[in-house]
């Protein structure tokens, strides 16, 4: 196992290099000049050139790339072009809300979607199946921002149960932290609940056709036991896969959720940084994302071995 993990982590390096270079190229190709943003409306060409020089943006792209890579190796992600705050600090400041949102969403998804999928598969073709599937499909049919507005309108404005927006770190008390997390998590989980419930259902249905399920029935096991003990664990691999992909593709949803609920997270930071052409911040973030993505894949692959003893690395 350990050598495998090592190997995977090593093979992450080329991926991250690819991503870094692609992003670097993409960013430098896009028009938009952080110097112009910094200088504001009435700056002269000469002033812009000076600013570019002081930011190091006047160097050839390859030199910039090399400098950046060199700094990365020594653990330095640079500073924001606009605010001068170190990128590591910016990320550290804003990783909390995103992490909370992501973890919350995944937990809620798992807690809700898997039972939904199991129930639907167990009642294949029945009313419960139809209702559960219709619900989960609905979750897949409404944009997150609409869900978000509706939730705020009812739970915060009409009922006054929950705050509209904002984030409190857990260090300031668990209750305020959770209170502000409920709605964003609900809004964001909709899509994933839909996805995971459907995959759970279809994987379980698939497993239910396997020979060992017949063996279990021949043993006299109840339908419930067959679903929970035999089918679910065998269906775990595709479910875990889809959850993994879900986490990896969470980011667009996170951006919207963070905007609607004003969570100061990484999702917003990406958009802000891209719109402001704050190159070091974008690059730092993408590096973080690709690393996270690789990590998630690794965790997923390791989970495979937990759920399926046949898989060994």
């Amino acid at each position: 196992m350990l050598p495998y993990v090592l190997k995977r982590v090593l093979s992450a390096v080329p991926v991250m290099i690819i991503v870094a270079v692609v992003i670097f190229a993409l960013l430098r190709l896009t028009p938009g000049d952080p110097a112009a943003i910094l200088a504001g409306n009435d700056a002269t060409g000469e002033q812009l050139a000076q600013i570019r020089e002081s930011l190091g943006l006047d160097e050839p792209i390859l030199v910039q790339l090399a400098t950046w890579c060199k700094n990365i190796i020594s653990g330095d992600l640079g500073v924001s072009l606009l605010s001068g705050v170190p990128v590591t600090k910016m990320i550290a400041d804003r990783v909390g809300p995103t992490l909370a949102l992501a973890v919350g969403t995944i937990s809620v998804t798992i807690l809700v979607a898997i039972p939904m999928g199991i129930v639907a598969a167990g009642r294949l073709g029945g009313y419960l199946d139809r209702i559960v599937m219709a619900l989960s499909v609905l979750g897949f049919s409404v944009p997150i921002f609409v869900t978000g507005y509706v939730l705020i309108y009812f739970f915060s404005l009409k009922l006054g149960w929950l705050p509209v927006q904002g984030y409190r770190p857990p260090s300031e008390g668990l209750f305020p932290f959770l209170q502000r997390l409920v709605l964003p998590v609900l809004a964001l989980s909709g899509v994933y609940i839909a996805l995971v419930a459907r995959i759970t259902r279809s994987s379980i249905i698939e497993v239910l056709g396997e020979d060992y399920i017949r063996t279990a029935r021949a043993k006299g096991a109840t339908g419930r036991r067959i679903l929970l003990r035999h089918a679910l664990r065998n269906a775990a691999v595709p479910i875990v896969t889809i959850i993994g992909i879900g986490i990896a593709s969470l980011i667009t949803g996170v951006v919207v959720t963070e905007s609607v609920f004003n969570l100061p997270g990484l999702g917003r930071l990406v958009v802000e940084a891209v719109l402001a052409r704050d190159y070091p911040v974008i690059q730092g973030l993408i590096l973080l994302f690709s690393f996270t993505y690789i990590l998630i894949n690794l965790v997923v692959d390791i989970l495979y071995t937990v759920f399926d003893p046949r898989i060994r690395y």
């Binding site: 050598p3 017949r214 063996t215 021949a218 035999h230």
Partner: protein
């Protein structure tokens, strides 16, 4: 109808006029008016061609018919004095495993792959008894010991994929028998296993049966097995019972034509004497080695020597049999020869041209002289492509115009006994035997000098098997093709081969003319193989013991 159940006490299971139909559609019933009974300690074998309703009957008894597809429409099934067709699902669950249990055909898939086998056996105890955890474990370990599994502790903690096929089947038997049920249904429990393992499993079932006085309903298509273990036999065809009688009657003097045909199709273990051939050599293999490497990170790769130092020559018109246990390397030899696998070392010469060292374009040209028929008739034709197009694919690859190729395809279809109209149909519109004939015809399209047939008849029932074997025999006479015939079935080998190579662990242990190898095996391995062949005391063709 003969009712000798008396000798075994009152029947454990009585099936009366059982009819099973499809839930949807108005096709004819899958099983119709089937009746039989099995007494305690008795073994009733159910035989019949594939699709004749054997499994459906078994599933009806267990209440495991696929919902929404099949349902019993009339008749009754009594376990003791309880009508199972009327029992509530609740009750059926209680009865399963406790009073009746079933062993399935595929040991590879019958066990839950993600749970330790010990736990899977224990589950039965958990569901049907009030034993404590320790007692359950104890009982399970005992049971593992009873079925002669080595080191029960280790097996208990193993996952199915860590066990061999035979071991897995024993685990399944443990599950079926741990509660000492009155009835054991075994649906082709040994078909997937090689002969030696098969024999062990059969012995085991017999042993358990004697100990627990179980009634055994044994489904098989292997007449050899019937000859070895049956007390009475049910012959089924097309969902109907053709004949029920005790074993002796069935084997010696079957009253029904179908039974007679079925039994006489079973090839004899004793090869007919054949003239030695002195034709040209079409294929020679010298010093063939094939090792598979499992790459492992940061550790030395582990190697499997699948074929070691193998030499053989095949002459024109010759049928050369390769036999051996499962995993002995037969398929690997075949795949190396046809070029699906690259040998680690060794020379393969086809019609005098050395394959090794040739450039890839030349190789492709040489390869057309050597064609292959695969084991599984259902999977070796692309289901999405019409038979005709499959047939001409090879020829057109080598530049024959489409029309000319079609002409040849039509000839070959006639040769293998199919109408030319078949060319315009899809594979699923043919039976397994017909498909295998199509595959043979396809292989002949390129007019090969060598035909490699890897278990080409293993998936077919005896009657169909016989037809295909006859076809092969005829073809080699007519076209002079040399056939490398791979099988694990000694009867088939004896029926058709001129000479036999016996393989064990990648090596040839014995070879020579069929009469010699099968008649007077010299090597211990061959003898063991021979002894394990079921029903070897019976000469089916002549309806009498050997």
């Amino acid at each position: 109808m003969i009712d000798d159940a008396g000798t075994y006490g009152s029947p454990v299971i009585r099936v009366r006029d059982l009819t099973v139909g499809l839930t949807h559609g108005d096709q004819k019933n899958v099983v119709e008016n089937v009746s039989f009974e099995v007494g305690p300690g008795e073994t009733l074998c159910v035989v019949g061609e594939s699709g004749s309703g054997k499994s459906v009957t078994a599933f009806s008894i267990m209440g495991l018919l696929q919902k929404n597809a099949l349902e019993p429409t009339s008749g009754e099934v009594f376990l003791g004095d309880e009508n199972l067709l009327q029992a509530r699902p609740e009750r059926m669950r209680q009865l399963r495993s406790a009073r009746m249990s079933m062993v399935f055909q595929e040991p590879m898939t019958a066990l839950n792959p993600v749970e330790k086998v010990g736990k899977q056996i224990e589950e039965v105890l958990l569901l049907h008894s009030k034993m404590g955890a320790a007692a359950r474990r104890q009982r399970t370990l005992e049971m593992l010991d009873t079925v002669h599994l080595p080191d029960p502790q280790r097996i208990y903690d193993s996952f199915p994929h860590q066990l061999s096929g035979g071991q897995r089947q024993r685990v399944v038997i443990c599950i079926a028998l741990i509660l000492e049920p009155d009835l054991l249904i075994a649906d082709e429990p040994t078909t997937a296993l090689d002969v030696t393992t098969q024999q062990q499993i059969l012995t085991l079932i017999r042993e358990m049966q004697e100990r627990q006085n179980t009634a055994v309903l044994f489904i098989t298509h292997d007449m050899g097995v019937v000859a070895d273990i049956a007390d009475r036999v049910v012959v089924m065809r097309d969902g109907n019972v053709v004949e029920v009688a005790d074993k002796e009657t069935i084997l010696r003097s079957p009253s029904h034509d179908y039974t007679r045909m079925l039994i006489s199709s079973v090839p004899s273990l004793v090869p007919e004497p054949r003239q030695p051939l002195h034709t040209e050599t079409v294929l020679s293999v010298a010093g063939l080695n094939k090792t598979f490497q499992k790459k492992r990170f940061l550790r030395s790769a582990s190697e499997i020597q699948a074929v070691a130092d193998l030499n053989l020559t095949l002459r024109q018109k010759e049928i050369l049999g390769v036999v051996g246990q499962s995993g002995s390397g037969k398929s690997t030899v075949a795949r190396c020869i046809v070029g699906l696998e690259e040998p680690t070392s060794g020379d393969i010469t086809i019609c005098g041209d050395r394959l090794q060292g040739a450039r890839s374009a030349e190789r492709r040209q040489m390869r057309r002289h050597i064609q292959m028929v695969f084991q599984d008739p259902y999977r070796s034709l692309n289901p999405r492509v019409k038979v005709g197009r499959s047939m001409v694919e090879g020829s057109t690859n080598f530049g024959t115009p489409h029309d000319a190729a079609m002409g040849r395809a039509e000839e070959l279809m006639e040769l293998v006994g199919l109408s030319t109209a078949a060319l315009d149909r899809y594979p699923h519109q043919f039976s397994g035997g017909q498909r295998q004939r199509i595959c043979i015809a396809r292989a002949l399209m390129l007019e090969p000098a060598v035909l490699v047939a890897d278990e080409a008849v293993s998936a077919l029932d005896v009657s169909v098997q016989e037809q295909v074997l006859e076809l092969l025999d005829e073809i080699r006479e007519r076209t002079g093709v040399g056939i490398l015939f791979i099988t694990h079935d000694l009867r088939v080998a004896a029926r058709i081969c001129d000479s036999i190579f016996v393989m064990n662990q990648g090596r040839i242990v014995e070879h020579g003319p069929a009469e010699h190898v099968l008649g007077r095996p010299e090597e211990e391995y061959t003898q063991k193989l021979f002894e394990a062949a079921p029903g070897r005391h019976w000469d089916f063709r002549n309806f009498c013991p050997v």
